[in-house]
């Protein structure tokens, strides 16, 4: 019965809270309750009963037009999104999240492979016959094998999502569709929170790998770093994948950052942060490679990644806050 109440509440969220509406809502609820109870008495399961009641609810837009409610369209007619479009968008956004997640995962795995291979050869676990030059070459090749497909994925998925650019220009959803997306969004909240918790925990635990490996033998911290990078890569993948799904709801429901009016500013903000990211991260990779190959500092230079991540996080966080205050 809770599900039915929530469903009805969602349907009425965007409607005026007049006495007339309240009465109507109560009548509908009592009607649905009667139907639900009778279905249960007929021996239907909880889920079946809820399914039938909701499927026989109908379309809230019918009531809205009958009651002549003006939902305040602000005088501008925005393109209305159909159920299929919304569905397509959510599916594509989810795939986008998956691809970008894999891409970033590969980008982090690249250096991890480089370190791993270099270390394995250094330890003589892979063939001893290689000269150190060949060993370095193998590491670099592994790095590129990881990073090149990642870049291809970025370009491909970016272009796939291009066709939804029109959503930025504003759009309208039917109340019915909005309510059902709202429902999905609410259902997604706990998996999302769980994913963030898991991601953060993985990040916090990852240095443990370095410490544990450090205990074993002299050379082992490098393996620890590899494990650290793998754990971080998994965490980042989780953040991106679940974040993209969450974002697809936010865009469609125009919540969080996607409310009208903030759009221009947010765009600018995202542009600046994006530009900084485009400089800072490749720079970090350059420093990592140079310090490794030229100065042979493999043992410590991985620290550039966590440091860059922290600095970048600080920058984008404080930049957003400062911009927010200027409003």
């Amino acid at each position: 019965m809770e599900t039915i109440k929530n469903y009805l509440n969602n349907m009425f969220t965007n409607l005026p809270k007049s006495n007339q509406m309240l009465k109507l809502k109560n009548d509908l609820l009592s009607n649905m309750e009667d139907k639900y109870n009778e279905l249960k008495n007929d021996g239907k399961s909880e889920n079946e009963a809820i399914g039938i009641v909701i499927s026989e609810f109908g379309n809230i837009d019918e009531l809205i037009s009958e009651l002549g409610i003006d939902l305040g369209s602000e005088g501008i007619i925005l393109p209305t999104i159909t159920e299929e479009e919304a569905e397509d968008f959510m599916v594509d956004k989810k795939r986008f999240g998956l691809l970008i997640g894999i891409g970033v995962f590969l980008c982090i795995m690249g250096p991890a492979m480089l370190i791993l291979i270099t270390q394995l050869i250094g330890d003589g676990i892979i063939d001893k016959g290689f000269s150190s030059n060949v060993g370095d070459m193998l590491g670099i090749i592994a790095l590129f094998i990881m990073i090149v497909p990642a870049i291809a994925i970025f370009i491909y998925s970016g272009m796939k999502l291009e066709k939804y650019k029109y959503l930025e220009g504003g759009f309208d959803l039917s109340t019915h569709l909005k309510a059902s997306i709202q429902q999905e969004n609410n259902a997604f909240t706990s998996p999302y929170i769980l994913s963030v918790i898991i991601g953060v925990c993985l990040c916090l635990l990852s240095p443990v790998a370095v410490l544990v490996m450090g205990v074993f033998k002299y050379r082992a911290p490098s393996y620890g770093v590899v494990i650290l990078l793998v754990i971080v890569a998994i965490a980042v993948f989780i953040f991106i994948y679940y974040g993209c799904i969450k974002e697809s709801f936010s865009i469609l429901l125009k919540i969080d950052d996607y409310k009208k009016g903030n759009k221009e500013q947010d765009k600018e903000e995202n542009k600046v942060i994006g530009a900084v990211a485009a400089i800072v991260w490749p720079l970090a990779v350059c420093i990592f490679l140079i310090s490794g190959f030229v100065f042979n500092q493999w043992r410590i230079n991985w620290i550039i990644y966590p440091i860059t991540a922290l600095l970048f996080g600080m920058f984008s966080g404080s930049y957003s806050i400062m911009k927010g205050h200027k409003k």
């Binding site: 009607n31 109908g58 009958e66």
Partner: protein, 109 residues
């Protein structure tokens, strides 16, 4: 199942018919419609309440609260005399419609 587009113009008639003999409330009416139509027509909740609203605004039905024996308060509906004559009008209209449409329906032999 009948599509709601086809039947739309006759939701008023159906509900008024259900109120001819006695006053009733939302769920009872929708249940009776379902039974009377051998489950071929299930009126959606939103259709039901749109129709109630329209009929009441036109003065064809009157709503009032009634407390059930076990304490639940329900909105009941009663047909008015204006509703009764509207119902008769709609019946005549349907006879005419049926007659006209039938002339365009090819009988399968």
């Amino acid at each position: 199942m009948i599509s709601s587009d086809v039947i739309r113009g006759y939701n008023d008639t159906i509900i008024l018919f259900m109120l001819l003999d006695s006053e009733s409330y939302g769920y009872e009416i929708s249940k009776n419609i379902k039974e009377r139509s051998d489950e071929k027509y299930i009126m959606k909740e939103t259709t039901l309440y749109s129709t109630f609203n329209r009929l009441e605004n036109n003065g064809f039905i009157k709503s009032f609260y009634k407390d059930e024996t076990f304490g639940k308060r329900r909105t009941y509906y009663r047909i008015t005399s204006a509703g009764l004559s509207y119902y008769k009008e709609k019946c005549e209209e349907w006879k005419l419609t049926k007659d006209v449409i039938n002339r365009f329906i090819k009988e399968e032999k």
